[in-house]
């Protein structure tokens, strides 16, 4: 070892610092926000085989084939969530700031012929939002994470016959990321990475109605969508100016691939007033196994959340008492975590979840209003390994309230 080797004057520490953490407020596994309408939320979004509103563009576009006239809905989903981290060494717990978000949705459909229906959806199905205290133990893993997406989803549904309808759609998704993470403690300060990207995908759906209005089967597939943030900017703010030259503000890029989603569902209506439904989602979170963050002037940083393919089971019930246009709904969800163990981090403290859903709807003529509530209870999730997160346990709780107003013209 020579003096020249030993006394290096520059340190490229940027790579150590940046954690492109994934979203946390997400309701379904990973950072998927599956529940996009007040109607669906009330019955745990178990609607692949039973959706009967413009939001079918998202849940199962093939269902549009059975919708007449013109319909539209507008609404929003209010999400509030908070996480708590308990370090394994017995130190004090750390709570994230409470994140409150409103995710707007717009859906519309129109019949072109008796068999063709076009639809359009503008919605947020993936998102991020979490902020941790600036001095917490996992500051080098994540301080704040934000991913906003907006999907534009035109679709075309074909009613083949009274028992079968098919649909296909196109997804254009705009994503904007904004992540902040702490630089190594000896450097201090933080780095913020922001960028925007468009990604594209497609979706298909099928609806089979062996017994129309009594027994339906549905299935959808939504392709993965790569968001390549090639025009990102990194704002390094080391606490100690000695590191400013080695960590200048610079371009950066990263990519996140939104997962494929496969959904199947069944709806049964044992009585005219009671609808029961069951859905299963398979979400291919293996798209989220590794994220490379490249800087123009700093070494690459590779994150390894090691996302797993995961499933979600949904059970819903809807009771129409035929009383003043009111409809009551209830549901239950079991949602497997997409990220486990060593990949678990504060940007996405994912966990197995059990959700309880409640909802109420009101119909009056061509108008419809639905409100759904979802209590999302995250089972304790242990972060191990110490690379993507401090070692410890994450506990989270989230509430979703969805409100949708819809109208149809026939």
């Amino acid at each position: 070892m020579t003096m020249r080797t030993i006394l290096r004057g520059s340190f490229a520490v940027g790579a150590l610092a940046v954690v492109l953490a994934a979203p946390r407020f997400a309701r379904a596994s990973g950072f998927l926000i599956y529940d996009l309408s007040g109607d669906a939320i009330g019955r745990a979004s178990a609607v692949t085989a039973s959706v009967n509103e413009p939001a079918a563009v998202w849940f199962n576009p093939a269902a549009l084939g059975n919708m007449k006239g013109v319909g539209a809905s507008a609404g929003g989903v209010f999400v509030t969530a908070r996480s708590r981290f308990s370090p394994a060494d017995g130190g004090a717990d750390t709570e994230s700031d409470r994140g409150n978000f409103v995710l707007p949705t717009l859906f519309a459909h129109a019949s072109i012929t008796d068999r063709l229906v076009v639809g359009m959806g503008v919605y947020t199905a993936f998102g991020i939002g979490i902020q941790w205290p600036s001095d917490w133990a996992g500051r080098e893993n994540a301080l704040a994470a934000s991913l906003k997406t907006l999907a534009f989803n035109p679709t075309l549904a074909v009613k083949v016959n009274n028992q079968l309808s098919l649909a296909a759609g196109f997804d254009a998704i705009r994503g904007a990321v904004d992540f902040t993470t702490g630089l190594p403690s000896i450097v201090g300060g933080n780095v913020r990475l922001a960028g925007g990207a468009w990604g594209y995908g497609f979706n298909v759906g099928v609806m089979v109605r062996p017994l129309p209005e009594r027994l339906h089967l549905g299935a959808t597939y939504r392709s993965r969508v790569a968001l390549k943030f090639n025009d990102g900017q990194a704002d390094f703010s080391p606490a100690h100016p000695e590191f400013s030259r080695d960590l200048p503000d610079q371009p950066g890029n990263a990519a996140i691939t939104l997962p494929d989603i496969i959904s199947v569902g069944v709806m049964g209506r044992p009585f005219r007033t009671l609808t029961l439904s069951f859905d299963a989602n398979l979400v291919l979170w293996t798209t989220y196994q590794q994220i490379d963050i490249n800087f123009s002037n700093a070494p690459k940083r590779t994150l390894q959340p090691d996302g797993h393919n995961t499933y979600t089971l949904r059970v819903g019930a809807e009771w129409d008492p035929r009383w003043y246009g009111l409809i009551l709904r209830v549901g239950f969800i079991f949602d497997r975590s997409a990220v486990r163990g060593e990949g678990l981090g504060p940007g996405l403290p994912d966990a197995d979840r059990t959700d309880l859903a409640l909802g109420v709807g009101y119909h009056h003529g061509r108008f419809k209003a639905d409100v759904g509530y979802l209590l999302v209870y995250f089972l304790p999730a242990d972060a191990v390994g110490g690379t993507e997160s401090p070692v410890g346990t994450y506990r989270s709780l989230a509430h979703l309230v969805g409100l949708t107003l819809a109208a149809t013209w026939r």
């Binding site: 020249r4 030993i6 520059s10 707007p104 947020t124 904007a176 190594p184 403690s185 000695e242």
Partner: protein
């Protein structure tokens, strides 16, 4: 309804596609400390190349091995090799060595003030006054020097950076580099580990070094810790604070010793002008730093005695007049000077050479050390290339060219076997060498 949907969609798009505009912070300039670069960009002189065991300058500590036979030198020039061999005989740096520290940009001269650039004599316990501070744009070096450094001293030098310190000509703030930041730490960089095997990868400084060169991080952190603890234990920060710069404002700090042996200095550069003084038509004074045993100050007198003070009338000697070419002189040590008195006034217009040899000692019996300029004038290899470039990294082209004139002329003297035999005028025996014309009566 249609209008509503379109309006809402546009609004949603705008909201979702809004990418935050991040600020673009200005990048500061820095006082460099990068031994990895070639040539290394580090402050000089530096105690980092003083061997703690031998107490001598040792370039191998900087990864540079000086050949014992300079005619075999390949990586460095023969002249550089000869000069480095000389430096490696010293237990500190020559007292006329200017200190310099590199910067990443040209520095604003208006900010190169005694408040921002300081030196502290550790053994004397006082700040160094009357520093000459400048900036050398070739290579971007901040330079500082007193008239001369004292022998046997250890100096700390530092530059104030950050908000209140030196600035680049662009106006940019000048900061320290990460290495300097690590050296400022109050706690051990090794987090208490005694051996590389005990290092905890989470130890902050070690973790930082691990990122860049994992295979060398362990050795690096121990080396840096040695320097950090030296700075702390030798009270470097307190010294610089006493000189006026608080630790947090230090952009670069370094220390260096000067050699402990006495030296008859010579430095004809305009910044120093340390040259023999003619104090009478027949008298020359040579200033000596450090104590001298007066009994060893004896002149050379042809056919009489072989003293260590030799005066040569080079003009006369060129006519092969050995008797008049070696005029009769007396030498004595008086008030810090070697005073040479000739029997007759030195003839105007003649070129004289004054030489001191290793026969002159300090009271402890150690020979005087050669001064760098004297050494350069006695090198065997030329100081410039055929294109006029200096062959020594530490000597500029202009200085090398000026010295090369004298060196090449004196070389004929040193290469003269007869003179060597008669008066013992050999390169290895010289500690002082200077030639000058007698231009006027004082």
């Amino acid at each position: 309804m249609k209008r509503l949907v379109v309006t809402a969609a546009v609004a949603l798009t705008a909201a979702a596609s809004c990418v935050p505009t991040l600020p673009h912070d200005p990048t500061p300039e820095a006082m460099e400390f990068d031994p990895q670069s070639f040539p290394p960009r580090v402050p000089q002189p530096t105690s980092l190349i003083v061997n703690p065991t031998t107490k001598k300058i040792d370039f191998s500590l900087a990864g540079l091995t000086i050949p014992s036979d300079c005619t075999m030198a390949t990586i460095i020039s023969q002249a550089e090799c000869e000069f480095d061999q000389y430096l490696q005989t010293l237990d500190g740096f020559p007292t006329v060595t200017p200190a310099q520290t590199p910067a990443t940009a040209d520095l604003d001269p208006a900010t190169l003030t005694p408040q921002n650039v300081v030196a502290f004599a550790a053994r004397a316990g006082t700040p160094v006054a009357d520093l000459q501070i400048g900036f050398q744009t070739v290579g971007r070096f901040l330079t500082l020097r007193p008239k001369h450094w004292s022998v046997g001293e250890f100096y700390w030098a530092a530059v104030r950076g950050y908000a209140n310190g030196v600035r680049a000509t662009s106006g940019a703030e000048v900061v320290g580099v990460p290495t300097q930041f690590l050296l400022k730490q109050e706690t051990p960089l090794t987090c208490g580990a005694a051996t590389p095997d005990e290092l905890d990868p989470k130890c902050p400084a070690y973790a930082l070094l691990l990122q860049k060169q994992p295979d060398k991080a362990a050795a690096s952190v121990f080396q840096l810790e040695q320097i950090r603890s030296d700075l702390q234990n030798l009270h470097a920060w307190e010294a610089i604070q006493a000189a006026g710069i608080p630790k947090e404002e230090v952009a670069v700090i370094w220390g260096f010793p000067t050699h402990s042996t006495s030296v008859a200095e010579v430095d004809p550069s305009p910044a120093a002008m340390i040259v023999p003084q003619m104090t009478a038509p027949n008298q020359i004074k040579i200033a000596v730093q450090g104590p001298v045993d007066p009994a060893t100050v004896r002149s050379f007198v042809l056919k009489d005695h072989f003293g260590g003070v030799i005066v040569v009338d080079l003009t006369t000697l060129a006519t092969m007049d050995l008797v008049n070419g070696l005029p009769h002189v007396e030498a004595e040590y008086r008030d810090g000077n070697i005073v040479i008195t000739a029997a007759a006034p030195l003839p105007i217009g003649h070129q004289f050479g004054v030489f001191l040899t290793t026969d002159i000692h300090d009271p402890s019996g150690r020979s005087l050390s050669p001064s760098p300029v004297s050494k350069l004038l006695t090198l065997r290899a030329p100081l410039v290339t055929s294109t006029g470039k200096s062959t020594l990294s530490s000597v500029g082209d202009a200085d090398a060219s000026m010295l090369e004139v004298g060196r090449s002329q004196l070389a004929t003297l040193f290469d003269n076997a007869l003179l060597d035999q008669v008066i013992g005028l050999s390169r290895d025996a010289l500690v002082y060498c200077f030639a000058f014309p007698v231009v006027a009566q004082p």
